[in-house]
Symmetry: C2
Subunit: 231 residues, 2 copies
DNA sequence: TCAAAAGTGTTAGTGTTACACCCATGA
DNA sequence: TCATGGGTGTAACACTAACACTTTTGA
């Protein structure tokens, strides 16, 4: 560095990282919430969060917090927004950087979650959340809806192999509307990013349905022209 | 507050607000940059920025900074992203919350800008920027492209009354591609959010072209179904 | 064999693209 | 009157939405 050793004159702020963890369980979009047995707002529900440390980037901090809660690494993570109103935290001024993560619900470490008093809720039936966490969830759901329309992030929420009906249910859960089965699968298949396996999954249905998997390479080769599922 | 008077044990961070100011000048999208006559990186180009103060929200801080530079209030402002890498600022660790603003270039206070050594550059021909400001600009242009497709933010960049050709030029500047004149105006007019005045603007052309204005009320009444300018 | 879920096919309608053509006017 | 940029019309095509129909299999 060529600069003289001065420092800026400016106020300092504590910075929280709050994480919205979403998963998909057959029919519903679910969110992992923490029952707070600590102050402030002890006894109420909130997102999983923590404070940013001096030696970590924002992303690293979010990863650390998610690892503590789920035992998972390499999960889809995206910054949503910074919340910075003066009185958003009743104790003292804290900025909060909000991230959301998408996980395959079956990979989640139940025991670790229990130790943090974490519970999955259907997104539509979630309890009231503390502070401005409600806004964070709203912003995330909006972002997810937009993203899912032009990026294959939906697949982050499904197991390795999934049926067309599971994918359809996921999109119905994200958009809170129904899609025509025929039109939906035609559209998805026409993107050329799924591989059909010859396995069938029997469950609920009598006929059973084929399993597909998402093909990253094919996606990489077609993503230029963009991808539009709804709209 | 019902909480006990404790405070959190956590590291503190200085927080900068960096503002990307965009305007449109007939043909080109332009960005306002500061020639730094202060450390660090004196002599190079950067975005306009400042530090967040203890008594202001993030938005208020961005408004203050923009007011200092342009003399404008009530401008379109949107948070883009927080940049938080450990060494992003060579002097010491600073988080930066990046905002972008859209202004009508003719309202801008030239004299005030000069006093900060601010200059307009065509976005495509901007100089190299300091630190991670380049990334901020890229992220902003991407956001602007997305937004302009489904919200009428383009109108923030034009004067009160504008011709269809000016609007077309703006969209061409944002998307860096050309649009068919006929198809573009058909589509825009079909949205029903413009009012045609009977004034004509003569300039460049021999025939002259009609002036339109954006109608907020009409927009409010049709925005539910969403709006799609590019495919 | 019937009911239920998966999956295919058909069609009308809507939106998009490309491009030919007409209009008004200053030089 | 002609060159120029503004503006309109239209036909081909692609995509979408709605829904009827076929397939498979457990009960």
């Amino acid at each position: 560095m060529t600069e003289a050793n001065f420092t800026y004159r400016a106020d300092s702020f504590k910075v929280a990282i709050d994480c919205i963890l979403l998963g998909f369980d057959q029919r519903e979009l679910k969110i992992l919430l923490i029952h707070r047995n600590f102050e402030p707002a002890k006894g109420s529900w909130s997102l999983m969060g923590g404070f940013l440390n001096r030696d970590e980037s924002l992303n690293d901090s979010a990863k650390r917090i998610l690892y503590q809660l789920t035992g998972l690494e390499d999960i889809y993570l995206e910054q949503i927004f910074v919340f910075g109103d003066i009185n958003r935290d009743p104790v003292e001024r804290v900025l909060s950087v909000c991230f959301y993560a998408l996980i395959k619900i079956e990979d989640y470490d139940e025991a670790l979650g229990k130790s943090h008093d974490a519970h999955w809720f259907p997104v539509q039936k979630r309890p009231k959340l503390v502070f401005d966490h409600e806004q964070m969830v709203e912003a995330t759901l909006n972002r997810l809806r937009r993203r899912a329309g032009y990026q294959p992030i939906g697949f982050e929420l499904l197991p390795e192999k999934f049926t067309m009906m599971q994918l359809l249910n996921l999109y119905e859960a994200i958009y809170q509307r129904s899609f025509d089965v025929g039109n939906f699968s035609k559209k998805i298949l026409s993107l050329g990013i799924l591989v059909k396996t010859d396995e069938k999954l029997r469950g609920g249905s009598k006929k059973g349905s084929y399993l597909y998997s998402f093909d990253q390479e094919r996606y990489d080769s077609v993503k230029e022209k963009g991808f539009r599922i709804i709209g």
